[in-house]
């Protein structure tokens, strides 16, 4: 469930749909699960809203 929430928040972030509270939640999830940082990093690099 938490990993699904991670993808939900990450997608919202890259689509400009995330709220400040959700952004904090995403940061907290990445703090608790540092192993997900790689996925977030890949998405940011290759899939950022600015690049597309």
């Amino acid at each position: 469930m938490t990993i699904d929430r991670f993808w939900e928040l990450l997608s919202k972030k890259h689509c400009g749909e995330v709220s400040t509270g959700e952004l904090n939640e995403l940061e907290e999830l990445l703090r608790v699960h540092p192993e997900w940082k790689k996925a977030a990093h890949l998405i940011r690099l290759k899939f950022s809203i600015n690049s597309f």
Binding site: D4, E8, K12, K46, F52
Partner: protein, 193 residues
């Protein structure tokens, strides 16, 4: 993705100055994706082209009102969808549009010069991953990421809940993220061997 500020400039030029060049640019900018969207609904390229052309004729006829339109992308997609529904109602089919039946194949817009920052390989990987998404998920993803529509607008356009759009977008990101990661891993293993 189409830049909202550029669309806004074209919109103003058409509405305020009857600018035919701006109208032509707007047409060229939206025509391919609107036709693909219409084809996905009515399954006929000829009818789809006719519908999109009719929408653009109306846009020109009512250009004075164009400035009041807040989000032209959403407006155009909605206008095309409504015309498709009207076409259905005018025919013997009397069918309801079922989002699950939509097998949209948008022409990819990832050929913008601005995207040179991303390597051709990365774009290919993303496109491949997008192509592998389930049809409904792909449609929602493309409306958000290529057409720049908001979750709320996609939900309204496709008669879905915002939660469904959120779920489909997170599914799309999950699948694309996993695909990219997997391909990078494969590349790393291949390089070692």
């Amino acid at each position: 993705m189409k830049k909202p500020e550029n669309i806004r400039l074209l919109q103003q030029a058409i509405a305020c100055f009857d600018d035919t060049q701006a109208y032509k640019q707007l047409f060229l900018l939206f025509y391919p994706s609107l036709v693909h969207f219409a084809v996905s609904i009515i399954k006929s390229k000829e009818s789809a082209e006719e519908i999109v052309s009719d929408v653009f004729i109306k846009i020109w006829e009512k250009r004075q009102h164009l400035e009041k339109v807040e989000n032209l992308s959403f407006y155009l997609f909605t206008a095309v969808k409504n015309r498709c529904i009207n076409q259905f109602n005018d025919t013997k089919y009397k069918a309801e549009i079922n989002i699950n039946d939509i097998t949209v194949e948008f022409k990819s817009l990832y050929h913008d010069p601005e995207q040179k920052m991303i390597s051709a390989e990365a774009i290919r990987q993303i496109q491949e991953a997008i192509g592998e998404l389930p049809p409904r998920c792909r449609l929602i993803f493309k409306l958000v990421k290529e057409e720049g529509l908001k979750y709320k607008e996609v939900a309204e356009l496709l008669q879905l809940s915002i939660k469904t759009v959120e779920n489909q977008m997170s599914l799309a990101f999950k699948k694309i993220g996993t695909a990219i990661d997997f391909k990078l891993h494969q590349l790393a293993v291949f390089s070692k061997n």
